[in-house]
Amino acid sequence: MATRFDLSHPPFDLLTPAEAQALSDSADVFFFCDDQEILQVGGAVDSLYLVLKGLVREMAGEEIVGVYGEYETFDCRALATGKTFHKFEAHEEALLCAFPRQEVLALTDKNPAFGAYFFATVSDKFGQLAQKRDRQEWQNLFTAKISDAGFRPPVFVDAVETIVGAARLMKEQRCRSLLVRDGDKTGIFTTSDFRDIVATAVPGDTPVKDRAQFSLLSCDKEDYLFNAMLLMTRKNIHRIVVTEKGAPVGTLAQIDLLSYFSNHSHLISQQLEMATNVGDLAKVARDMDALVESLATQGMKMPQLARLIQVLSTRLMARLWQMVAPPAVFAGCALLALGSEGRGEQILKTDQDNALIVGDGQNEDDVAQAADHFTEQMLRLGYPLCPGGIMVSRKEWRHTTQNWIRVLQDWAWQSQGEALMNLAIFLDAETISGPASWLPVCRDALRAGLSDDATWFSRMALPIEQFPNQKADGGFWWQLLNREENVRLDLKKAGIFPLVHGIRILALEMNIMATNTFDRLEALVSKGILKRAPADDISESLAFLMHLRLNAGLELLRGKKKLTNEIDTASLNMRDKDLLKDALLVVKRFKQTINQRYQLDRF
């Protein structure tokens, strides 16, 4: 039988049917009028409340610090301590379900997942992310098979081969262990055996079977990685033999285990190197999405995740360019990633922003054909076309160094509208493939051509004001309290763009060459333009906004929907709502800083 009260929402969805039934039966219903106090500051709290209807606001003094609507639960912090530090009031007539605190506490003991929900919320905001990652990794450890970890294919050597021959084979095959075939016996011979060989001056022509270990420790390839790890730990060995139906099919080293659990990125980079056609690359691109998903759920921090993905996608694009461009074009052109891809802040494949610096003396038709082909194949790899047409397939984005300098200076001279945004995007460029010295030449020429005209920088900074504060401006909670339908927040407009662009302009003014926003922030701090504390706030806020966008994006991808920058704020949990509010405040303060520095009011 279904429970009386709807307990299908977090955290109650973690309860077993029997637990939910018992909890539902222990609940009373309360009704509070508009503005009626529900919990008073410092008062004893004997219940956990679930909102059935209405809205409840959490107040710290006069400031709203939380809003609870239907199916949301409060005050989770008071569950542990038995008293609340904030005042809770009905904002809009609230019908509440009250679960006795003792019953809920008993359930948190009985049901660890349910308990984790509350006590993790109590713990430090960021500490919780780390906990979540630990849990996920432990899960991986218990469910991953040896075959998932990508063990190494075996290199066999005949038993009568000399140890010198074995050493040569290991060097040639770049492996650290050999399987030794001796009739129907199999042994293992590893680099660590050489220590003893040298130490005891064993002659080089000794047959390898005399030094190999024939009592093999092995695991089946379908066995759990965890068992392999246990075996290695127990026997204090560095590698085991992987078998399939008893026959050795490879070796698994401790290092493979480690890298599996840190991330799977080394596998992807191996695949990238081995790819021979676009089909292979498309598979790698899909694996990258899976990697992002897995690392994001493991709680990897955004700047690091973004950079890891940048390394991989840069190589992916370079490999694709190599495949589609004739050798002369490939060697004689510099392929650039622009915008977020250049900054190393594009985690999901939002679009392709790229350009080409064409070497002198290139055949224009060959270059055009290769560029067309590249854009087309990028689409196949999952990079949507750039809506603004910032792609190598368009000749506006293919110039020689000299022409680029002219184009850049022209954009700088116009410094508004499309030209301004083109320039901004180009400021973030990174070389993916081809001569790396051309891009700095373009940039230096641009920088040298800029007068230190304050008005010019002001005009460049102006776009941070193009999305007014209306939605982001602290009114976020009010918007929820007013029950505005579908409170959607465009993260790019509300936060990511103002931060990224403001920092970009500051970096340009300060002649900072870094393209990554987090790097630029560091550089701005070391030049004394920003103080350490606000810079850290900006960097954490940006990372958090990227994290929200990534999660929303992954959700969209799972639903096979198109990526957008919008998130549905109703879907955020309380902790994320809290952090989002903090982040939006940081954005607001930063916009004020930029506004003052460049006196944007005068426009």
């Binding site: 009386r4 709807d6 039966d25 222990s26 609940a27 009373d28 219903v29 309360f30 009704f31 509070f32 009028c33 059935l52 209807k53 209405g54 007539e93 019908l95 006795p100």
Partner: protein, 246 residues
């Protein structure tokens, strides 16, 4: 619903006629209200058999769902299929049911002499009284509160000229309370309790005893206030068919 004065007089009269054994129990009233609902096998009082009874106390702004009363009652006759479709109780579901007398006994112990609250309560009371009268020697002496009456008063204050729809769904919608699945006595009793809490918050609740209380519950004519005489019974609500009351 009869006026409060009339109810008080009736209460005294009925208490006097109660069998000795029940008098102390039904005199008890701690001021809490009890929202009740019965599921029955028919909508005609004469034919209706009680299938389940639910009751939940209201204390201030609190609905004591954690300590509510609910029981299934073994039917005397076989249920017809049409009816099973409405309340979703199959014959086998009554295996856990109590015999009628035992269920009523427990119900009385839960409610005591507290004021009873319901939606079209007169019907429930009529069916209960049909069985209780022989046991008690008199009909239930409890005060009765019709939730749709309070709802009427609240709506009437805002829309004195409009037609006031007293249907269950409309009340739920206008009071912004969650819709629990219907035709379960417990859910209906809880819903009525929530309706009452919401109306109470809007200033439409039981005022202290003997204060004049509006009485009209169904028609869209202005409510009669302070009536000392029993007003005519409300026109039969749609749910009741022929409306054959006590």
């Amino acid at each position: 619903m009869p006026g409060k004065l009339w109810q008080s007089w009736r209460r005294l009269w009925r208490l006097r006629h109660l069998k000795e054994a029940y008098r102390p129990l039904l005199s008890e009233d701690d001021g809490a209200l009890v929202s009740i609902d019965c599921e029955t096998s028919s909508l005609k009082v004469k034919e209706a058999e009680i299938l389940s009874i639910a009751a939940v106390r209201i204390e201030g702004n609190r609905l004591r769902t954690s300590d509510a009363f609910y029981t299934l009652i073994k039917p005397q006759r076989a249920l017809d299929h049409e009816n099973i479709r409405v309340h979703g109780l199959r014959p086998r579901d009554f295996d856990a049911g109590l015999p009628l007398e035992e269920a009523l006994e427990k119900f009385l112990r839960f409610t005591g002499g507290r004021t009873l609250l319901g939606y079209y309560l007169q019907y429930d009371i009529a069916v209960l009284n049909k069985h209780l009268k022989p046991i008690l020697g008199a009909a239930l002496p409890n005060h009765e509160v019709e939730v749709s009456g309070h709802y009427y008063d609240w709506r009437f204050a805002d829309y004195p000229d409009g037609y006031i729809d007293l249907s269950w769904e409309t009340i739920i919608k206008n009071l912004h309370i969650p819709a629990l699945p219907r035709h379960d006595a417990m859910n209906d009793a809880i819903t009525v309790g929530m309706m009452y809490l919401a109306l109470q918050a809007r200033g439409h609740s039981e005022s202290p005893a003997l204060a004049p209380v509006s009485s009209s519950s169904v028609s869209d004519k202005p409510p009669e206030t302070g009536s000392a005489l029993p007003p005519p019974p409300p026109p039969p609500p749609s749910r009741l068919g022929q409306g054959d009351f006590e």
